[in-house]
Every structure is written in structure tokens, then in C-alpha cells.
Symmetry: C2
Subunit: 226 residues, 2 copies
């Protein structure tokens, strides 16, 4: 019987195939059976290398996290923090399914620790105490996660013509009497949602307040974005 030769599979090959499928078909259409078919193998062959689907998700997530660049050196700490946050956002935009992987599974593993170490190092270098550094790390991380996930979601919606038309229609049908501000700002809301500017706007709010807290600044000397 023509059987697949042995040892052609590996955890790494499976993870890369899985990631390629997520990129091309999207995370919602991703399935173990599709990965197996792509590899010319039965679905159960994957279970030699991963205990279940979630473990494969974790492997993909950790691989993506390993692509994050190191923290830049020789810059003021707010610029370093901004760079870390922008890197993560950029990676999420490049691999939209990463938003789902980050939100639906706890952070664990070597690569996630590496990323945390980088940002925590920046914050400790800025003079924050342990508790504040930990809180700040969580705040920045969740801001990046939330705002970029939202951006990705919006972009996906805009790509589907039906959903997009329906969304516009439901917005335009809102009563200007009941929701005067939403209606009058509808254009601004649609225009400003997402994008680098929206992201940097919120990020700079956080960094500005952090600089104040660090006591390095007076109001007049708040650093503006690079």
C-alpha cells in the first residue's frame, strides 16, 4: 500500500503549514483537517506532535512573537516604549489572526516572556517601581491588544461588501433627533477609526501621562511623538 514515508512531518513543519493556512483562509476557516490535507496526511497524524488544536495555536502564537524585534537602545524611554507597542501592533496587522490567538489564550512560553522582559526593562529603566512597572506593562499591552484587534475587526468588515453596506445603512438610519452627535460625527467616526494616527493618538495619551507620573516633565515639556 502506498503509504506516506515516515518522518516527513515535524512540529515545525506543521506549525508553518498551519500559519500559512491562517494567513490565506483566515482563522475562522482554519481546521486541523485542512492542515493535514495540505500536508497530504491523515488528520490524526498531527496528534503525534500536538496534543490538540490549542497547542497548535500556541505554537503559532509563540512563533509570531519570536518575530518581534528587540527593544531599540539609546533612545529616551518613551520612544522605546512606543517602539515596542508599535512593533506589536505592526505584527498583529501583518498577521490578523494573531489578535485572536492573543485574546483567546493566556500568554505563556519563552517568546512571550521575552517580549514582556523588553517592555518591563524599559519601564524599570524609566524609574518606575515594581508595582507601577507591572501595572504599566499591562496597561500598554492591553491597549495595543484592544485597539489593534478593533482595527483589524473593522478592516475585515470593510472588506466584506455586504456587511459594510449593511453597517453604513444601519448607521444612516439612526434618528438624528435621538442621536444628534453620532449622526453629526458619523463622518469623523468612519474616517478616523483605525489607522496609525488613531493608534498613536491613544498611545501618546498613555505615554504623556506616564511621563508626568515619572516626574520628568512639566506640562510645557511633554514629549510629542517622534
Amino acid at each position: 500500500m502506498a503509504r506516506t514515508p515516515r518522518n516527513t512531518l515535524s512540529a515545525d513543519l506543521i506549525m508553518r503549514t498551519a500559519m500559512a493556512l491562517m494567513e490565506s483562509k483566515g482563522i475562522s476557516a482554519f481546521s486541523l483537517r485542512a492542515v493535514a490535507a495540505e500536508l497530504g496526511v491523515g488528520p490524526m497524524a498531527l496528534y503525534t506532535y500536538f496534543r490538540n488544536k490549542d497547542e497548535l495555536y500556541d505554537a503559532v502564537r509563540d512563533h509570531l512573537m519570536s518575530l518581534l524585534p528587540p527593544v531599540p537602545t539609546g533612545e529616551p524611554w518613551p520612544d522605546q516604549a512606543r517602539a515596542v507597542c508599535r512593533s506589536l501592533r505592526s505584527l498583529m496587522l501583518q498577521h490578523p489572526f494573531l489578535a485572536h490567538l492573543l485574546a483567546s489564550r493566556p500568554l505563556s512560553g519563552h517568546e512571550s516572556a521575552r517580549v514582556a522582559e523588553g517592555l518591563l526593562g524599559v519601564l524599570c529603566g524609566a524609574g518606575f517601581d515594581a508595582e507601577t512597572a507591572a501595572r504599566t506593562h499591562t496597561t500598554l499591552f492591553t491597549y495595543v491588544l484592544g485597539s489593534t484587534s478593533w482595527e483589524i475587526q473593522m478592516a475585515a468588515e470593510r472588506r466584506d461588501p455586504d456587511a459594510w453596506r449593511q453597517l453604513r445603512a444601519s448607521m444612516e438610519s439612526l434618528s438624528a433627533q435621538e442621536f444628534p452627535i453620532v449622526v453629526s460625527l458619523a463622518h469623523e467616526l468612519a474616517r478616523t477609526t483605525g489607522g496609525d494616527e488613531q493608534f498613536d493618538y491613544g498611545l501618546d495619551l498613555l505615554l504623556t501621562a506616564l511621563q508626568l507620573k515619572a516626574g520628568h516633565l512639566t506640562t510645557e515639556r511633554v514629549r510629542t511623538p517622534s
Copy 2:
């Protein structure tokens, strides 16, 4: 043939049953068939009232949004904004599946507009121009979404003893040489993740920076949380 009497179903009844199932079994175990079984009805009966599962999701989400209290009046705008954000977080904590509903579907519908109207009203009242109000609304909304989703995710992880032990183990196995800060702050990270304090910390950063931007404050007069 003993057939279910007619007109016992309604969109509202189905939506409430669906919500009850999400509360009790969790969003991942939620299925149309379970809703139908709970109502003593065939799965296809639901399709008389909802075109598909996503429409039912939207109905549940809109119902939850309708539970949000109105914006308090007679307070300074930062306190109003804080109240709106805290209300949303509180609702998400009370109904953990709401995080999933908000993140996976676009915001649309009457109730979402009502919530947006409230926060935008606060921001316009603070003197922000249209673009800044829109950007600020998005920033605050995504911060609440991201940070609360993360908190819910962490809390769920902590509730599952196996996953929690595994997470602690993977953290403790990290090399103190490679990740000195993560290891030394492990306790802080575990202790400070989630909770009102963590949420308010980030929210106050944003509100502080916004007050600066609004020009109502000098550094010495930044409002502290109520």
C-alpha cells in the same frame, strides 16, 4: 401528532434563552441546537426569528448594551467619562461572554449608538473638536475592551486548576538569567493583573492626558480619581 403549540416562540424569548445558556455554559459551549433543546423545539425553528447564529449574537449583545446606565449628569466631564467606561467594564465582568460578542462582531444597532452618543456627548461637552472627540471615543472604548477582555481571560484561566498550575509552572521555569526582570517581578505581575485598580490605573492615565490636552489643567492640578 403531539406538536408544540404555535406562537410560543418569539425573538425575545429566544434571545433570553440564548443569553441564559451563555451565562451558564460559557460562550464556547453555546450552540443553536442547545437553545432549541432548551425551548423544546427543533433547531430550525429558530430560523423563523433569526437568519443565522450571528444575528442571534447581535441580539444578545444589543440587549446587554441596553442595560448600560445613562451618563451621570452634574459632574465634571472626566468623572462622567470614567463612569461610562466603568459601566461598560462592569457589564463585561458580569457577563463574560460580552467580551467575545463585542470583539467578534462590528458594533451596530440602536443600543450601541446610544452608548456612543453618551460618551461622545461627554467629550464634546469637554470642548474637544469633532475629530478629537471621535478619536478619543475610540481610544477609550478600545482600552476598556482590551483591558477587560484580558482580565476576563485571566480570571477564566485562574479558575481552571490545570491550566493555572501549568501557567505558574511555565513562569517559574523561566531562566532568571535570561529574563531577570520578569522573574523578579513575577509576583507583582501575578498580583496586579486585573482588578479595579489595574483598570483604573490605565483609565486614569488616559483621562489625565486628556485633561491636559483639553487645556483645563496645569501639571499641579491634574484631577486624581474620585
